[in-house]
């Protein structure tokens, strides 16, 4: 059982993710944007085990959100999820993306999420 934060501006995906990960037995908190995610971490007292972050959100700031979260919680692994793998792989983004532990596609399956969360927890 792990405490997980997910930031995503797509409410359908957010809901499906929350239910699915909760069904796996983890505790899930959600944020609908980058700023909300940062605020959630600042006010949180228990600490998250893994943070999932959608890199391409309508209000932007994916890269700066990544940096802010990494600064606030340096020990928490951050996993970037995106529907646009080709954009994240571009040289413009590569350097900034180094602070993310993993990059995952939006169409990742539930049992793959389970394995990734467990692997990240073991490393901790």
């Amino acid at each position: 059982m792990a405490r997980i934060l997910i930031a995503d501006d797509d409410s359908d995906y957010l809901a499906a993710f929350r239910k699915g990960i909760a069904a796996l037995g983890h505790e899930v908190e959600t944020a609908t944007g980058g700023d909300a995610a940062v605020a959630r971490i600042q006010t949180d007292s228990k600490g998250f085990d893994v943070v999932f972050l959608d890199f391409v959100m309508a209000d932007g700031g994916g890269l700066s959100t990544l940096h802010k979260i990494a600064d606030l919680a340096p020990d928490t692994p951050i996993v970037v999820i995106t529907g646009r793998a080709e954009m994240v792989d571009s040289p413009l983004f590569q350097k900034g993306m180094r602070r993310a532990r993993l990059r995952l596609s939006k169409t990742t399956k539930l049992h793959e999420f389970d394995k990734i969360i467990n692997d990240l927890l073991e490393i901790e």
Binding site: A23, V56, D89, K106, T107, K109
Partner: protein, 777 residues
């Protein structure tokens, strides 16, 4: 041109034709030699054999041509004749004959020299001068064995010989009696001297193209003048001297006075020649000036910028358009070497044959050069440069004419840009759509996965179906993204041979049994500056298209993948022997989303991806097809210099912007986030704003080196207006505009200036653009 001139002055012009001249020279040389052979033969046969004294000495009391001289002259004439008529097979024999004559003459010379004190001046013998002359003729004839670079030796020997023979002839002309009392010339027969004269002249005429006689040839004004004055130069001094001698002999004037008059007359003749010469030179200069002026008038009427350079790449003139383009610089060549040129599309600096300066040296390339250039307002222009080298008939008066066409606003360029814009748009739309689809599919996927954890029986089957459909959807969005890669990839020096071999292997796995794939690659590496993933996607697209065409036709077939290189370009060809395309299908083939395989799952982006890749990589794509005759797709890519690749110079990467202070105004949420971070990565000091008002409020001209602003900005002020305000406070600040693919215009207004860049932008392109903009002209 030549036709017209012939009509104007048939005779004179016809002689100026090089071919006619050469034929005339050769015939003259042969004629002179035959005359010599005839003289020597007559002396031997008619004179000595049949005993007619008139052939031996022409006039009673004249020196005789002795049999040894006649024989030597006959042999040397024969040698000369064989050489002139090109009897190559017996060349060595002929040369040995000449050497034999020379040895014989030297022996004669030696014997005469040994008894020089006791020679009877009036005896019939081979004279010292004749023997020396024979040696010179023989030496002239064998001198060609020294090779073409020593042609001057033959020329020198023949010229000296010609002069000596002339001395004897002039001696006969003026005072034969005293000629005989001069030991060296005594016993020299008139026809011996004439024969030697003709042989030397024949040699000089035959080799006129390589000796001083060439100044009489050709159509230049100098040659014309020389030909005009030649008879006078020979006849006038002789005529004047004869007249003087006549005056003295008849006692009409004293010898001294006549000498004075002779001096005066010769001086007048020389001065006249000098004046004529100077006049011709001046006329020639005026003529060439007039020609240049007329050329400039002609060029001024053209709608392109034209520069004229001499053989050494020194500027001779610029037309009006060229002055407008390059500014009124003192030396036009400076514009070619110092102008701010860059590669269109990447803003990378230019080197070697790709740089306009290369047009001024070496043979001009056949293809036009397309380059980007920053004008005096700092605006980016697209130029097409082509060079022509004009060579005169003599090969001496080289002119290089470089014409420059500004393609920035031309229809052509607009069409190209529209094409690329369409591709960019297609890529962006697909990218955006794929993102949305990922969100949708991801939500369905996770929900179905969760259902699978809890459900049993029929419900479980339903969730499994949903999960499988999601997998297919995920693969599909992946493929869409790959097909429409929007150029954000990282180009690098890529070995095409190696890349094609591995792509062919991949493509081979996709082929059904009925389709054979063959690969034809050169043995050595060839490098191009491309994104390897882009290249792979492009060639796989082509292979898949060919495969689908063959499979659809229901026949077995062959796909051929080949790489060839021409000059500095690589040609990658993917061809099939399938059904081919009709002209209508072919004309729309590269349009995004156009597909003939709608049902079979084609995205319609394949060929437009290939075209986009080729253009981004500085190359070209074309498709040739004929119904029932198969299809050939050809991608041409510029090749890199292998030495540059080995030395690591081929991969420029982003330019270093260390210490440069950049003001960024950009409201796009994704881009506005990444842009400052990326610029900071390459060393720039970045201040970022999301609207123009804030940026203007805190603008300090002394603290900014470059301004980078989006054209479309939120609030009341757009990028252009913002830049105008900035211009008012910092007139020299380099400005870059960023614009989306849907917006109009690729250049800025005169009062603002600055480069316009279209999104999406590569970091290397952006940093190159900034780098080139900050280097002031």
């Amino acid at each position: 041109m030549i036709q017209a001139e012939r009509q104007i002055a048939p005779l004179e012009r016809r002689f100026e034709d090089r071919f006619t001249q050469d034929r005339f020279l050769r015939r003259s040389a042969i004629t002179f030699t035959i005359i010599t052979l005839f003289i020597a033969g007559s002396v031997l046969v008619e004179g000595w054999f049949l005993g007619h004294d008139v052939f031996v000495r022409l006039f009673p009391g004249f020196a005789a041509m002795v049999p040894s001289t006649a024989t030597s002259l006959a042999v040397l004439s024969a040698v000369q004749l064989l050489r002139l008529t090109g009897q190559d097979r017996i060349q060595p024999l002929v040369s040995w004959a000449a050497v034999g004559v020379a040895v014989f003459a030297i022996v004669n010379l030696g014997i005469s020299a040994a008894q020089i004190g006791s020679i009877d001046l009036r005896s019939d013998r081979m004279s010292l001068a004749t023997a020396f002359g024979l040696v010179l003729v023989a030496a002239t004839q064998v001198s060609h064995h020294l090779g073409p670079r020593a042609a001057w030796v033959g020329t020198l020997l023949a010229t000296v010989g010609l002069f000596l023979a002339s001395v004897a002839l002039v001696g006969y002309l003026f005072d034969a009696a005293s000629l005989y009392s001069f030991i060296l010339l005594s016993a020299t027969a008139l026809h011996s001297a004439l024969s030697l004269f003709l042989l030397f002249l024949a040699h000089l005429v035959a080799t006129a193209r390589t000796n001083w006689l060439r100044n009489f040839l050709g159509r230049g004004p100098g040659a014309r003048l020389a030909r005009l004055l030649l008879p006078g130069a020979i006849l006038i001094p002789a005529g004047l001297t004869y007249a003087a001698a006549y005056l003295v002999d008849t006692g009409q004037a004293s010898s001294l006075l006549v000498r004075g008059m002779l001096v005066l007359a010769l001086t007048v003749v020389l001065l006249a020649a000098l004046v004529t010469f100077a006049r011709v030179r001046n006329l020639e200069l005026a003529q060439s000036r007039r020609e240049i002026l007329r050329l400039r008038d002609t060029l001024d009427a053209l709608n392109v910028a034209a520069f004229v350079f001499d053989h050494y790449g020194r500027g001779l003139l610029m037309n009006q358009r060229a002055v407008e383009l390059a500014g009124p610089s003192e030396r036009p060549e400076d514009w070619f070497t110092d102008g701010r040129f860059y590669a269109i599309g990447t803003f990378a600096p230019l080197h070697g044959a790709a740089h306009p300066a290369s047009l001024l040296e070496g043979p001009p390339p056949e293809d036009a050069l397309y380059v980007g250039w920053l004008d005096i307002h700092g605006r980016n222009r697209s130029l097409r440069l082509s060079a022509r080298r004009l060579t005169s008939e003599e090969g001496a008066l080289d002119r290089i004419i470089v014409t420059v066409v500004d393609e920035t606003e031309s229809w052509n360029a607009k069409d190209e840009i529209a094409k690329i814009e369409r591709l960019d748009a297609a890529g962006q739309i697909t990218g955006g759509a794929a993102h949305e689809f990922s969100n949708i599919l991801g939500a369905i996927q996770l929900t179905a996965d969760m259902g699978l954890m809890n459900a049993e029986g029929a419900a479980r089957e339903g969730f499994e179906t949903i999960a499988r459909a999601c997998e297919r959807g995920a693969r599909m969005t992946d493929r869409l993204l790959r097909l429409s890669r929007d150029g954000l990839g990282l180009p690098q020096a890529t070995d095409l041979v190696e890349a094609l071999a591995s792509i062919a292997k991949l493509a081979g796995n996709m082929m059904p049994e009925s389709v054979r794939l063959s690969v034809d690659l050169p043995p050595h590496s060839h490098y191009a500056y491309v994104d390897p993933a882009d290249l792979e996607a492009a060639l796989l697209n082509l292979a898949i298209n060919a495969r689908n065409a063959l499979v659809a036709s229901g026949q077995s077939g062959e796909i051929r993948m080949a790489l060839t290189t021409i000059d500095r370009k690589a040609l990658i060809s993917v061809s099939d022997d399938g059904p081919g395309m009709s002209p209508e299908t072919l004309s729309r083939a590269t349009t995004p989303f156009y597909t003939t395989q709608g049902e079979a799952g084609g995205s319609g982006l394949g060929l437009s991806q290939v075209e986009g890749f080729a253009r981004r990589s500085g190359g070209d794509f074309d498709l040739r097809s004929k119904l029932r005759h198969g299809t050939e797709a050809r991608v041409t890519l510029p090749l890199l210099d292998p030495d540059d690749v080995k030395a690591g110079r081929a991969d420029p990467g982003p330019a270093d912007l260390s210490g440069l202070r950049i003001l960024v105004v950009e409201d796009d949420p994704q881009f506005g986030d990444v842009l400052p971070a990326s610029l900071a990565d390459v060393g720039a000091d970045v201040a970022a704003f999301t609207n123009a008002e804030d940026a203007l409020a805190s603008f300090d001209p002394a603290a900014v080196d470059v301004l980078l602003t989006d054209v479309r900005l939120p609030g009341g002020m757009d990028g252009m207006t913002f830049a105008k305000h900035i211009r008012a406070r910092a007139p020299d600040l380099p400005i870059l505009f960023l614009t989306g693919y849907t917006e109009e215009g690729t250049t800025t207004r005169d009062d603002v200036g600055g480069i316009v860049l279209r999104k999406p932008i590569r970091l290397s392109m952006l940093t190159n653009a900034i780098d080139i903009l900050r280097t002031r002209f």
